[in-house]
Assembly symmetry: C2
Homo-oligomer: 256 residues x 2
Amino acid sequence: MASRVQSVERAAAILQVLAVEDAPTGLGELAAALGLAKATTHGLVQTLRDVGFVDQDAESGGYLIGAGLLELGSRSVDLNELRSQALNWTDALAARSRQAAHVAVYTSGEVLIAHHVFRPDSSVQQVQTGTTHPLHATALGKVLLAYDPRAVRALGAGPLESFTYRTVTDRSRLLRDLADVRDLGWAAAVEEHHPEQAGIAAPVRDRTGQVIAAVGIKGPVDALCDARHRPRTALATLVVQTGRSISREFGHGRVP
Amino acid sequence: MASRVQSVERAAAILQVLAVEDAPTGLGELAAALGLAKATTHGLVQTLRDVGFVDQDAESGGYLIGAGLLELGSRSVDLNELRSQALNWTDALAARSRQAAHVAVYTSGEVLIAHHVFRPDSSVQQVQTGTTHPLHATALGKVLLAYDPRAVRALGAGPLESFTYRTVTDRSRLLRDLADVRDLGWAAAVEEHHPEQAGIAAPVRDRTGQVIAAVGIKGPVDALCDARHRPRTALATLVVQTGRSISREFGHGRVP
DNA sequence: GTGCGCGTTCGGCATCGCCGAACGCTTGGG
DNA sequence: CCCAAGCGTTCGGCGATGCCGAACGCGCAC
């Protein structure tokens, strides 16, 4: 019978106390819940903070479950694999929508373009692969935000940066948009990042159902939206279907 | 500067090593990754197993991220609150669908009926609130399975129990069904639990977007399905809308 | 049958975890 | 304005607990 490592048990108990609460938990409250000295509890919880399993609220000094613990439950997709699985489907998407197509992942509080297909015309275009974009102002970013708690946490509590007069800078409004994304299964951003440009995006899932990336198109508002500036549903359907097809490459809904 | 609790740091490192792998990790491999003696690593990982943060594969003896860690990221909804928020919407659902309506949560590997509205006719019906049902053979269960990794893990690796000749007992087939649930945003089970009975269900989300419950209807196949035994899309739409309405009661998509 | 690698157990030692006491800061009340 | 209370944080010393090497039992392959 192996002996139990007492301090690890205590650290686990701390995490369980914090998980029950939304608001930051104070050190005194934590110590009382564990029946330990404050100094002991402090050493344990500071260690948990340093390994990223606990975050400390700057204002109150209280503690809450950390982003690093969320990371344990999140799978990072291999970018090379993502590219190779998405390649044919995004080519087809660009061809059928006649717009530029992208595949993106969430990385360090931003959208990272993992793959980019040029708009199929003779216009001058710049390679986007490897570039980063703001989460809140892009359709790809909204998809990632809708399904990844790490992304939402990375937004912080303050106002969101404005890129155009149409950028959603009110956090509550954005959260409402994210709920729409979950209800509809796709996202749009119209002139929120660049004037006269719009984007439509949909989730890419892995075999467990977790959203690991977003796929989307981007182009002029006139092409992506109807006369009332609303995304064209035929294009949204196309993007969603592409998302599902790429998801199937990762085993989602496919017999192993 | 508070000292770091070394064994807690080591335990965290163990979790990080395990999180990267799908397959069970052996003790020797773990010890090598940490640069510790096997016996030391064993004490740490056994402690993590005892607190539920690590599971041990019965066959290989290897270790993997445990269900208890998944629990840290999952919110339990208060059943009384769920009932009171769902009350009016499920009454309306039962009235409009003319079928019995249920709200259910995932608990200990099963579907737990949190709230039940009788089918609005004079038939003899039994109270279902508080009863449990199998995850894999019910529409409510499929919704919970589609969005909660704890539920999928609780299924285990063996064959699924058969209730009728139509029960999906092949795990791969079920995983494919779950992918459909995520793609469509609703689930159905036709004669999988009881002969001549069918169910349609949809997710209920909390304000962060996490699926915390499922709402659904249940009734005779003839009433819920068309001539080809496929769920009626008008009823599915009704159920999905009810799910969204209850979700809004929990703050999903609503300005706080 | 033997060797190897697996996860597990055991006992002893020294190091590290834990504690009480104190610190510095903020807030609220008199 | 001052004091008290409560907050999270730091410090040093002691003893309890974490860690280690060695060994165990099991299963598998040659």
